[in-house]
């Protein structure tokens, strides 16, 4: 059972923004996911959530009574949540931590003062909950990175980080679902496809799921990559 204070304001002409008065946490994530489902059902609107905000997209038209809309949203958010557990999927993601795929790995190891086997052991030893998707289509915002692997982003971002790159930026770890410029340190690469716009369910990941990483060697990487392309 939990309850949060919140503040509702408009974002632009058509959307409502709900700001939760709390720092990010796993409990808040579960609450957000439950409220997100309720809101999108009641208003038939698209709801985007982040660490501590909910955006109710395009829920306002010229005939909308804003005060009554806000009252309705508030009432819904104030309903106590009894079952606070969201059972997301656990994804086991193979990662090849090899300088063949990671131009940054050796430099990163020097900077965090760890050997590469130590980095692999620490990185694969945790479960990372997916808070939400953003930045790129299918990019998961993950929490719970071991403090020993924290490292500030690069001062000069890389022009292109390859699709599948597993990287570390500040206190976070993440996977790039597509080629993109980026300022994170790449420590490995997964041969798994994370986002396919031609599929009915384009994203492998959903908010509320959990990711674990396991190490594979270069041969295993090529084998999985080949079978994906068939």
């Amino acid at each position: 059972m939990c309850q949060y204070d919140f503040h509702i304001c408009r974002l632009g002409d058509y959307s409502l923004l709900i700001q939760i008065d709390s720092t990010p946490s796993k409990d808040l994530l579960n609450w957000l996911l439950i409220k997100k489902g309720d809101l999108s059902k009641l208003f038939n609107a698209e709801v985007v959530h982040t660490y501590n905000e909910l955006l109710l997209k395009d829920c306002i038209s010229i005939t909308t009574n804003i005060d009554s809309l806000i009252n309705q949203v508030s009432a819904l958010l104030n309903v106590r949540v009894s079952n606070n557990d969201c059972n997301g999927v656990v994804h086991q993601i193979p990662v090849c931590y090899s300088s063949l795929y990671t131009p940054d790995l050796e430099e990163y190891a020097l900077q965090v003062k760890r050997t590469i086997p130590e980095i692999i052991k620490i990185h694969t030893n945790r479960e990372y909950p997916i808070y939400f998707l953003g930045f790129l289509p299918g990019f998961p915002y993950l929490e719970n990175l071991d403090a020993r692997l924290h490292l500030d982003r690069k001062s000069v971002p890389s022009r292109s980080i390859a699709r599948g790159s597993v990287a570390i930026g500040g206190t976070q770890t993440g996977i790039y679902p597509q080629d993109s410029p980026g300022g994170w340190h790449v420590i490995g690469r997964t041969p798994i496809s994370l986002f396919d716009a031609t599929k009915a369910k384009p994203s492998l990941f959903n908010a509320g799921d959990t990711i674990t990483f396991y190490a594979i060697n270069e041969r295993e990487y090529e084998k999985i990559a080949m079978s994906n392309n068939l």
Binding site: G12, T50, Y51, F132, G134, P137, A197, T198, A207
Partner: protein, 287 residues
């Protein structure tokens, strides 16, 4: 043979756009869609197309195309100096092109974007519910030489007596200085009184960083705002970076961002911003 057009010259930056993607922001997918919605809607209305039919959005320099079929088309938005086999084509007036005729658009003036629409609309694969190009979500990012784009079924002529009267064409700005109306953004109240004053009734200039994702402004607003937890953003959100840069997010923007959101552009004024380019100036007006 199905109606289509072929690309002889792609222009500077030409993309296929419709109303954009709805329902996928929660997966991090940008909204995309036509930047100047007003010019986009007028073009489809003139041709009696379905309201969201896809067309070409042309930037700075329009494309040259050849028609593979007799097709009605129209150009809206900024002036594109277009000719059909050498004869001048007026903006906002539908024209019947015969098969094998060549439409040449040139340097775009009066604004930065023109819209080239065809009766029946461009007919290509829907990806996540939209035909709008956004690479690598869609296989193409912009027009290139030799592409052939298929067209849909036209209903042009179904309402022969329809007549379109309009005062202004689109977001194209005729007066010397445009006014962009903005709301206070979620982090506006964290600015000092002085900083808030500097954002209202002041002139701002578009920098050389302007595209379908965002428009960065030249003027700097020094500030000590802390970055925020990564939060939702939408087209029209104005972000303030720690170094004082103001960034107006546009149609292809990310769905989340970590810079404070100091302003939010009034939706209809996004059409005006869509017609701006490097050096364009405007007055910000907080409502």
């Amino acid at each position: 043979m199905k109606p289509s057009i072929s690309i002889l010259h792609p222009g500077f930056y030409t993309t296929v756009q419709d109303n954009g993607r709805e329902g996928y922001a929660l997966l991090g997918v940008p909204q995309s869609g036509a930047m100047d919605k007003h010019a986009f809607m007028i073009a489809n209305a003139i041709l009696n197309n379905t309201p969201g039919a896809a067309m070409l959005e042309c930037t700075l320099l329009g494309p040259t195309i050849v028609f593979n079929h007799d097709i009605n088309f129209v150009i809206t938005g900024s002036n594109a100096g277009a000719t059909l086999d050498g004869a001048q084509v007026m903006e906002g007036v539908p024209v019947l092109a015969k098969a094998k005729q060549v439409l040449k658009m040139s340097k775009i003036s009066g604004g930065s974007r023109s819209y080239l629409a065809f009766a029946g609309g461009l007919y290509s694969q829907n990806i996540l519910g939209s035909k709008s190009w956004y690479y690598p979500l869609t296989p193409q990012g912009k027009l290139s030489v030799g592409m052939e784009l298929p067209l849909g079924i036209s209903r042009y002529g179904a309402s022969k007596n329809a007549h379109l009267k309009m005062q202004s064409q689109s977001g194209v700005i005729n007066s010397s200085m445009a006014t962009i109306k903005v709301y206070r953004g979620p982090e506006f109240s964290k600015l000092t009184y002085n900083q808030q004053q500097q954002l209202s009734n002041h002139v701002f200039t578009v920098s050389n960083l302007w595209n379908r994702m965002a428009i960065q402004l030249v003027e700097i607003l020094p500030n000590a705002l802390k970055s925020i937890y990564t939060s939702p953003v939408i087209p029209g959100t104005v972000q303030l970076t720690p170094s004082g840069k103001l960034i107006i997010l546009m149609n292809d923007c990310q769905t989340t961002g970590g810079y404070p959101r100091v302003l939010q552009v009034v939706d209809s004024d996004l059409n005006k911003l869509a017609q701006m380019q490097q050096g364009s100036q405007f007055l910000l007006c907080v409502t």
